[in-house]
């Protein structure tokens, strides 16, 4: 080792499948998992004579993605043909965007390992069509082509080389995923291939500002492979530089099983895609009215929502971040907070009990067995002092398993807390009598002793005493001024 510190420079090209109902140039469904070649027509299979027509929603989704990532929207955009032969591409050209992508020059903020906020610049976002799926035929008898994915709308999101570690790349991808889910244009399911990524990577001495020679590793479809590629490719390139061997610019393929990359093609074999405007498709002009219309669909984004949660609901920063990490969870919180009229208790219950429950049941917040309204009602009972904290947990668990309303659970199981002052005064008097030492401590100025006495009241009442009222009554009885 030379002792030089190296820096990894990473740029990503992320492909995100849009969740439109139909394909980008025909009315075939985009649904995942259908029988082979049944979501197809002459248009998406590139049959002679068939012609494409752009799905308006796909364009709007692309613009929305741009707006959500601080991009500039090209008001005049067009579709181009990218020509190359590959058997999963039925027309031998992919309809994509070349020099006038719908969105350009944006950025996203991510959190680095040291907890700082970092801007990752986006070069562009453009709209294009997906290709088909090739699988090996049984008994090595060739490959099989399923064209159901052909023509599913894709966004290609291209970053500048602004990331420096696998953690940052991961954080960027999570952030993209979160935003796409927030604006509801993609479900970003890596396991279904609806989010994939190419990694452009180079290394350089940490002291240098010049970019090293990069490689591009294609088509990675899990966070795990992306992390592994970044680690292995960094190590490989550093080793070459240490040996004084220059890195060769190339496109690589990642073999997940072997845990290594292999060369797909070298720079000299770079493809000549012969891009030209698709004469079958009209240019896209996003005029002011359409722009405003698309803008109206833009929901509050995670970052802004997090800030608002801190300000409006007075939540601690970490809780606000947790609640806004998922749009559905944030919606849940806002609904529960409204019903309960108690921002902090709602936050406490959702970040605690609810998330534990969801994790245990392995369901998403949208499928939560307890709705935000029901949880809000439960919190009302707690805040009113109608039930104790331990009772509330019991009620919560019953709600989760039966779906009953908190009110009916409390009523049917007579879980109502003792808030009757006459009854509580009797118990308090007994406790004061039986615990002279603690009373003495309290009267000597040891405020904490009241906690022990309240505990004794809870014990006497079998947990039914309203602790707040109990405390008040004890204080009053011991200070008969």
């Amino acid at each position: 080792m030379s002792g030089i510190a190296y820096e990894t420079v990473i740029g990503l090209e992320v492909h995100v499948e849009l969740s439109t109902l139909t394909k980008v140039f025909c009315g075939c469904p985009t649904e995942f998992g259908a029988e082979e070649n049944t979501h197809c027509c002459p248009v998406c299979t590139g049959m002679p004579g068939a012609l494409p027509v752009i799905n308006k929603k796909a364009v709007e989704y692309a613009v929305l993605a741009g707006l959500a990532t601080h991009c500039e929207i090209n008001r005049y955009s067009k579709m181009d043909r990218k020509n190359y032969f590959y058997p999963d591409l039925p027309k031998a050209y992919q309809i994509s965007q070349y020099d006038l992508p719908l969105c350009k020059s944006g950025f996203l903020e991510i959190e680095t390992e040291s907890g700082e906020t970092k801007k990752i610049r986006l070069n562009r976002i453009h709209l294009e069509e997906d290709a088909g799926k090739l699988v090996h035929a049984p008994n090595h008898s060739g490959s099989l082509l399923d064209m159901n994915r052909c023509g599913v709308p894709l966004l290609e999101i291209v970053t500048e080389p602004d990331m420096r570690s696998a953690q940052e790349a991961r954080s960027f991808l999570e952030s993209i995923k979160k935003i796409m889910e927030y604006i509801q244009i993609s479900d970003c399911k890596m396991e279904e291939g609806s989010m994939r990524c190419d990694v452009n990577l180079s290394v350089r001495p940490a002291s240098s500002d010049a970019l090293g020679i990069r490689t591009e590793t294609k088509n990675l479809n899990s966070f795990r492979s992306i992390t592994r590629v970044i680690e292995s490719e960094t190590a490989r390139q550093v080793q070459l530089l240490e040996q004084g061997v220059p890195v060769v610019q190339a496109t690589l393929h990642w073999d997940e099983d072997a845990g290594e990359t292999s060369v797909l093609r070298l720079k000299e074999e770079a493809q000549d895609y012969r891009y030209f405007p698709d004469p079958d498709l009209a240019p896209i002009h996003v005029d002011d009215a359409w722009f405003a219309h698309i803008q109206s669909f833009l929901p509050e984004l995670p970052e802004a929502r997090r800030k608002r949660f801190i300000e409006q609901y007075k939540l601690p920063a970490d809780a606000a971040a947790l609640l806004t990490s998922d749009a559905a969870l944030a919606d849940y919180y806002e609904a529960a907070a409204e019903t309960s009229q108690s921002n902090l208790t709602a936050c406490h219950w959702i970040t605690g009990e609810l998330l534990r429950l969801l994790k245990e049941k392995e369901v998403t917040v949208s499928d939560s067995p307890i709705g935000p309204g029901a949880l809000g009602q439960l919190i009302q009972f707690i805040d009113r002092g109608a039930i104790s904290g331990s009772q509330a947990k019991e009620v919560f668990d019953i709600m989760a398993s039966t779906g009953e309303s908190p009110e009916s659970i409390i009523r049917s199981r007579s879980l109502v807390q003792i808030s009757d002052s006459g009854q509580l005064e009797e118990i308090a008097a007994r406790v004061i009598q039986n615990n002279p030492k603690s009373v003495g401590d309290y009267l000597a100025g040891k405020e904490k002793a009241i906690g022990f006495l309240v505990g004794q009241m809870m014990k006497e009442s079998k947990g039914k005493a309203n602790p707040k009222l109990a405390g008040e009554i004890l204080t009053r009885l011991m200070n008969p001024s």
Binding site: P42, G49, D272, R274, P279
Partner: protein, 489 residues
């Protein structure tokens, strides 16, 4: 009586008046086809059985007192680059020798919806690339006026069938003159409408920004009738025009007095055969007799049309024809080493030399480092050419021009030098570049008795004016009523 020889509008009257029945006409037509096809070879596929079934069905509707449609019972031919459901569609290419589309082209849907009888699919230059139909992989179609001569192309089969009356009328396609030049060579009427007037859905693409479906017919009235049937917006074709369609028949039999015809001075140039020049001059005289004014106009970029056309057409073709790789349909070569070799062999075997030449040229002009000099430049000059036409047409109602500098030539005569062959397209390609409507009507004969058409070029969506002017000319001249003697009519 041989009603199958009549134009569609006349045949339709016979059906309505019960003087002829559809099955009888279709049977008569197939008997005539069998007699005539050996000499002409206009068809690649005949659909005798399905035509007979269609004829029965249509006649039944006539018998029930219905009018089953504008083309009910009219026997028609369709160029073999228009997709026909369950009927082989080859583009006259070895590549698509066994291709059977699962859908109908929009134009085919429309004629069938109006009750036309589909006789069969006609021969053409492979993928519509050519001007003589000599580039068909399957066979040569002969000009019904003289079997030693070509019928023109690329819609040579459709034009020859109409001339030989082996179809009452026909669909073709026109990318650079492929309907109009064979119409002129075969002495029939042909129209290429405004780009976008007819849907291109199901027309197998050669050059998408230039391609239009066109019509070939015996007279102007049929042409107007078919234009009426085929016009209209199709949401499946982005480039289809959402413009109102005129009643193209309404202007027929009206005077052309007061209209002005523009004569582009750059079109009267060296290299035009004297017989062609005479036909155009006679037509000018005839229009003046009919009361129209004639005015000289200018299209300054005429010389640039051909390079612009070949660059744009070949570039688009190189991309459009990439899909023929032996994977999902079309020819798959045998004896390949691997996938890449399969694609290479399939394409090299499947495409003829002219198609390969154009693909190579188109690939070249789009490739890195050449795009700006060729493709982008051609698109810029295209803008200038459109402006030329806008300016010229602002001074007149339509342009009157030759169709081709020559009449039908002999087989093999022009296939030696590609540039020379391309030069014969100069008067037709400019119209596709500008996206304008143009109509060809028989306008004379050369010294050897071969027909010669004249071309009228109109304003965007100005087809109705073209029909009116062409009809007045047709009705006052003998040319459209002449038929070839060479075939058994």
């Amino acid at each position: 009586m041989q009603p199958w020889k009549m134009p569609a509008h006349a045949l339709k009257q016979l059906y309505l008046s019960r003087e002829a029945s559809v099955p009888e006409v279709v049977t008569g037509m197939f008997a005539h086809i069998k007699q005539t096809e050996p000499a002409v070879d206009a068809y690649l596929t005949l659909c005798e059985e399905s035509a007979a079934a269609q004829a029965q069905a249509i006649q039944k509707r006539y018998d029930q007192g219905e009018d089953p449609g504008l083309l009910a019972g009219v026997p028609m031919a369709v160029k073999d680059n228009l997709c026909t459901r369950n009927i082989r569609t080859t583009c006259a290419s070895r590549m698509l020798e066994n291709f059977t589309p699962p859908y109908n082209a929009a134009a085919v849907e429309k004629i069938l919806a109006e009750g036309a009888i589909l006789l069969g699919k006609t021969n053409m230059d492979e993928f519509a690339m050519g001007s003589s139909t000599e580039y068909s992989y399957f066979k040569k179609t002969r000009n019904p006026w003289n079997p030693q001569r070509v019928p023109g192309g690329s819609s040579g089969g459709s034009a020859a069938a109409v001339a030989a009356r082996t179809a009452v009328c026909a669909l073709g396609s026109d990318t650079g003159g492929s309907v109009r030049q064979p119409a002129s060579f075969c002495g029939v009427v042909g129209v290429k409408p405004t780009y976008g007037r007819f849907s291109r859905y199901g027309l197998i693409a050669y050059a998408s920004s230039l391609d239009q479906v066109g019509v070939l017919s015996q007279d102007v009235e049929d042409c107007a009738l078919l234009t009426k049937v085929l016009s209209g917006y199709d949401p499946r074709d982005t480039t289809s025009a959402d413009e109102k369609t005129d009643d193209y028949l309404a202007g027929l039999n009206q005077s052309v007095r007061g209209l002005t015809l523009g004569i582009p001075k750059e079109y009267y140039r060296e290299g035009i055969h004297p017989d062609v020049r005479k036909a155009v001059e006679d037509a000018i005289g005839q229009f003046q007799t009919l009361g129209a004014a004639v005015k000289e106009v200018s299209l300054p970029h005429t010389e640039d049309c051909l390079p612009v056309y070949y660059i744009i057409a070949c570039a688009e073709a190189s991309s459009n024809l990439g899909r023929y790789d032996g994977v999902q349909y079309g020819r798959r070569a045998s004896g390949y080493r691997d996938l890449s070799d399969m694609i290479l062999k399939s394409r090299s075997e499947g495409f003829g030399p002219e198609v390969q030449r154009r693909i190579l040229l188109g690939t070249y002009v789009l490739s890195a480092g050449y795009y700006d000099a060729y493709y982008k430049k051609a698109q810029q000059v295209r803008t200038l050419l459109k402006q030329d036409f806008d300016e010229a047409l602002s001074q007149c109602d339509c342009l009157l021009t030759p169709v081709s500098p020559v009449t039908a030539f002999a087989f093999g005569e022009k296939s030696g030098n590609p540039v020379e062959m391309y030069l014969t397209d100069i008067f037709t390609v400019s119209v596709n570049i500008a996206g304008l409507p143009a109509l060809v009507v028989p306008g004379g004969q050369d010294a050897s008795g071969m027909p010669c058409g004249i071309q009228l070029v109109g304003k965007p969506f100005g087809e109705a004016v073209l029909f009116k002017i062409a009809h007045a000319f047709e009705q006052s001249t003998p040319w459209h009523s002449l038929t070839p003697k060479e075939v058994a009519l």
